[in-house]
């Protein structure tokens, strides 16, 4: 980068002292603002963690620093709530949904990106429209379908539709697949490969980062979902997800903030841990969503 700047017309680097000082001040200002913002962003997590470790008595006071580190709060959360059952339900919901989503959405994105046919553009516009549709718009008739099938009071109404493609995942995968040059698939064609073989031997290996990203997004979406389980999981706490349980935790199990904050941490921790293991997949996937068609 510096090479291209210094190579041309400019002689030896003699930055005037005034400009150098100004640049130094800018550097300090930028870093100061960034660090201040970073502290503000971490602040909520830090205060949640501090409160989670307070005793019941201290949580009622306005002190900010725990007098004793009360790690037993986490055990109390497990003992007083169905946290294990909620975690299990959430895990089943998230992993089955993600699996079904992949099985159904990868072929759809493959067709939208690799085949030329009439109505291809229309199909893509339908994908975007369904992606943008607030889920509440079609909630009543869909609820009635599941009620007739006697599947309400379970998470199946949220899992089964994933077998029929997820608009956001199709959109994202399609955006990635159109960037794979046609020459690759054409070459495989000349060798006589079938559609299925091309998908498995050419497309899938190249699309691995995009597939990893949509899988992670789907898993996290389900893990964090509140609206879906609220609509379908029913009143029996055994069948709830973490989001549902946490939303009512304070009212049901504890008037004190310390236990609620401990539960909040326990719900958040898995997400953060997964993020640190799969950071690159996330960042690549997120930037993929911002790319225009």
């Amino acid at each position: 980068m510096t090479a291209t700047v210094t190579a041309g017309s400019r002689p030896a680097r003699t930055v005037p002292a005034v400009r150098r000082r100004r640049r130094g001040l800018m550097w300090i200002a930028q870093h100061a603002i960034a660090i201040a913002l970073a502290i503000m962003f971490l602040g909520p997590i830090a205060f949640v963690a501090l409160t989670a470790l307070m005793t019941d008595e201290q949580a009622l006071t306005s002190q900010l620093w725990p007098q004793t580190w009360n790690w037993a709060n986490f055990e109390v959360v497990f003992a007083r709530s169905d946290l294990l059952a909620w975690t299990f339900n959430t895990f089943v919901y998230a992993s089955l949904s993600t699996l079904f989503m992949l099985v159904s959405s990868v072929p759809a994105a493959y067709a939208l990106s690799r085949f030329r046919f009439r109505g291809r553009k229309l199909a893509f516009l339908v994908v975007i429209s369904t992606m943008m549709l607030p889920p509440q718009v079609v909630a009543v008739p869909i609820y009635l379908i599941w009620a007739r099938l006697d599947l309400t009071d379970s998470l199946w109404p949220l899992i089964i539709p994933m077998l029929f493609g997820d608009a956001f995942s199709i959109f994202l995968l399609r955006q990635f697949l159109i960037t794979i040059p046609r020459d690759y698939t054409d070459a495989a064609r000349v060798d006589g490969c079938s559609d299925t073989r091309i998908l498995f031997t050419v497309i899938l290996p190249m699309a691995r980062p995009a597939i990893a990203a949509v899988a992670l997004f789907s898993f996290f979406y389900c893990w964090n979902d509140y609206y879906g389980p609220l609509l379908y999981a029913g009143v029996d706490q055994e069948g709830w997800t973490l989001s549902l349980g946490l939303a009512t935790f304070k009212a049901l199990h504890s008037v004190q903030w310390n236990l609620t904050m401990a539960a909040t941490l326990l719900v958040t921790a898995p997400v953060i841990i997964v993020f640190f293991f799969a950071q690159r997949v996330f960042i690549e996937g997120v930037t993929l969503t911002g790319v225009k068609g």
Binding site: R116, S129, Y226, G290, K292
Partner: protein
């Protein structure tokens, strides 16, 4: 990139039919979970239905909805979110992304820190913010008191509830920030150099080089931001519930929108009408209103995509 075969190669034959085969599950899905429900919603909007009896009532539901103050209140709340929350998120995301492009040392760590909150589950983030901002023992008002400011009642006051949610939304803006950061890093460096030679300062470089180059990305984020504001549900609902201390988990006695309906959004009103009061016909009217609002913004987005498709 069109291939230049005079005669289409063998594998092009029957391509439409094969594509249809690959798309079949998705097409079934669109018909069952999008096409049919949309038509059924229109149908049910003329009926009174509580899961047991179905009774034709003509335009009664529509008349009721248009006379319902809570519908207007939720529309005003949604408008507030679109006008204040979405721009706050976009401006903040763009500002932080721009700042991160300038920083050489520790950029990776800072990027992670700013991205992290966007991963926190909506429920967890909201519960945490209701605690942080609670006037009695919450740390925010105590820190404000240290510098002599009496903090507001945040989630407990109708005036401050939406600004409180905006703080939460800005905290979780990491996704948008990463998208902007990628777009900013993609701006060709020679454009800046050319502008600098023309004597453009930092602000003019930003206005004349950066903004035009990243405007498609900004536009996309703005529209998706608005569409998510229109369907805003979980955070508003949980903030109301936790701040009001409502105990009923099934929510049948809980009036959404605490305090004073200031956090009521149309999706919540629909949810309570349809799935707590079981007035499903009326809920369908709410659904169609919601559909109309979201359709306006979806159409803008679709036009953008058709244009981009036409270019490539």
């Amino acid at each position: 990139m069109a291939s230049t075969h005079a005669v289409p190669p063998r594998w092009r034959r029957g391509e439409g039919a094969r594509a249809l085969l690959w798309l079949a599950p998705w097409i079934v899905g669109v018909l069952v979970f999008f096409g049919y429900p949309l038509l059924a919603t229109v149908y049910f909007s003329f009926y009174r239905y509580d899961l047991f009896t179905l009774e034709f009532v003509g335009l009664d539901n529509w008349r009721y909805a248009f006379a319902d103050e809570r519908v207007y209140q939720s529309a005003r709340n949604t408008l507030w979110l679109v006008v204040f929350m979405v721009p706050a998120q976009l401006l903040f995301a763009l500002g932080v992304a721009q700042l991160l492009t300038k920083i050489k040392s520790g950029a990776g760590v800072l990027r992670t820190i700013f991205y992290l909150p966007s991963l926190v589950p909506a429920v967890a983030g909201t519960v945490a913010f209701v605690y942080l901002l609670n006037p009695a023992t919450g740390p925010v008002n105590q820190l404000l008191a240290l510098v002599g400011i009496t903090g507001p009642d945040w989630f407990g006051s109708a005036a401050w509830a939406k600004p409180s949610l905006t703080l939460l939304a800005v905290w979780g803006v990491g996704n948008t920030m990463m998208i902007f950061l990628a777009a900013l890093l993609d701006v060709p460096r020679h454009l800046y150099e050319a502008a600098a030679i023309d004597g453009a300062g930092a602000w003019r470089q930003f206005r004349n080089v950066t903004l035009p180059t990243i405007s498609p990305v900004l536009m996309f984020s703005a529209i998706t931001g608005v569409i998510y504001a229109v369907q805003y549900f979980a955070q508003a609902m949980i903030a109301s519930r936790v701040a009001s201390g409502a105990t009923d988990s099934a929510g049948s006695t809980f009036t959404p929108g605490y305090p004073d309906g200031s956090l009521l959004t149309l999706p919540q009103h629909l949810f309570h009408t349809g799935f707590r009061d079981w007035s499903m016909g009326l809920a369908c009217v709410h659904a169609l209103l919601l559909f109309a609002v979201s359709m306006v913004f979806t159409l803008i987005l679709l036009r953008q995509f058709s244009r981009a498709e036409g270019e490539s």
